[in-house]
Symmetry: C2
């Protein structure tokens, strides 16, 4: 196996719970009352899909300009709630290990620049590393476009790389383009939920994944 394609939020940075609260309060102010648990299980989808999905459960339709406005407010509130996102355990060490050993990897996130910049900065990414963000593709997760664009940028075949994510949407998108999915529990899903969504292996966090690279056929 030659390469890794990482999701960002919940996989490398510990942002899921702040995103949940920011979405819940943003949607609540717009009259869309959704439980924290429901939002948690929608996180990882692109923002526009998350809004549409939450609204549909309530029998509401949200237009595209209202959706954009809500995404903007979510971004502001998220920044207030979590001005300095923390890396997940072992994330930086894993990234540095991959960089030092010239193991190809990229990041494919439903987030957008500049909102994701603080997280990317913390990781200490080499500027050569491919970062595919929401704006780079037509459709966010669970469409596979982000992962597919990252795979092409890395120049590897689907059967030569893994997607690493924390949400069932990562696993669903990976499976649709024939890429094996590795799941991390640090986004808050239970292991069974991840296996049932097609995870090939489930790890606790980036540190646990790092310790298992041998078992994944990544080291020779």
């Amino acid at each position: 196996m030659k390469a890794l394609i990482f999701d960002l939020d919940g996989t490398l940075v510990d942002t899921v719970y702040a995103h949940v609260l920011a979405w819940q309060q943003t949607l609540g102010k717009a009259g869309l009352i959704v439980t924290g648990q429901r939002i948690h299980r929608l996180i990882g989808m692109s923002g526009d899909l998350l809004i549409r999905s939450a609204a549909r459960e309530l029998g509401r339709e949200i237009g595209s300009s209202e959706s954009k406005e809500l995404q903007l407010r979510h971004g502001e509130l998220f920044e207030q709630l979590l001005p300095e996102p923390r890396l997940l355990p072992g994330a930086r060490e894993l990234i540095f290990f991959l960089q030092d050993n010239s193991i190809p990897f990229g990041i494919a996130t439903s987030g957008r620049r500049p909102k994701i910049n603080p997280s990317l900065d913390k990781l200490g990414l080499d500027p050569k590393i491919a970062v595919i963000e929401r704006r780079d593709v037509a459709y966010g997760k669970p469409e596979p476009d982000l992962f597919e664009a990252c795979r092409q940028r890395l120049g590897v075949n689907a059967e030569e790389c893994y997607v690493v994510g924390d949400a069932v949407w990562d696993l669903f998108a990976a499976r649709r383009i024939g890429i094996l999915g590795l799941a991390l529990k640090c986004g808050g899903y239970g292991a069974d939920e991840l296996y049932r969504a097609g995870a090939y292996r489930v790890f606790r966090d980036p540190a646990d994944l790092h310790n298992s690279l041998d078992e994944l056929g990544m080291l020779y």
Copy 2:
């Protein structure tokens, strides 16, 4: 089956995600860096145990006065993050149904008054309803003291009632005193995690439980 003993946070009120963020930031400021996911899976324990457990994972010991101070700060931050807790879907309707039909029930929570008062107010509880809080017993969850005190107040035998909770700690505590546990997914645990911790049945939220009272031998 004669009676129900309810957990409060994550079971009747939608407070888990705000508690996670409040604990994470409170502990982080004290140098205890814990992921959101780890805290999420500790929620439902009493605050003192949650702090000790999080600290132990980091190889730290927290004294009882520091623990009290942290619990105080958590309470303040929680109130800032979520000044008005929302009821979970169907919670009020379920409580009213039980009251109207004279089905005995009580609340047994690791929370403390006055912090839990806004949540209790929203439920519209009859003042006669038993509310057992952390201060009423020697040990919080996962010790069974809260549920046991509530069971005694209701005057029912262990085999005649259910505990309803959202966390594995509720299920563990219930099992230790021979009470069947019903679990709700609205606190953010996956169904498998709840079944494996001994849930007899898992429901989506209070509304789903309400619709299933017949299947639980509660209605005649």
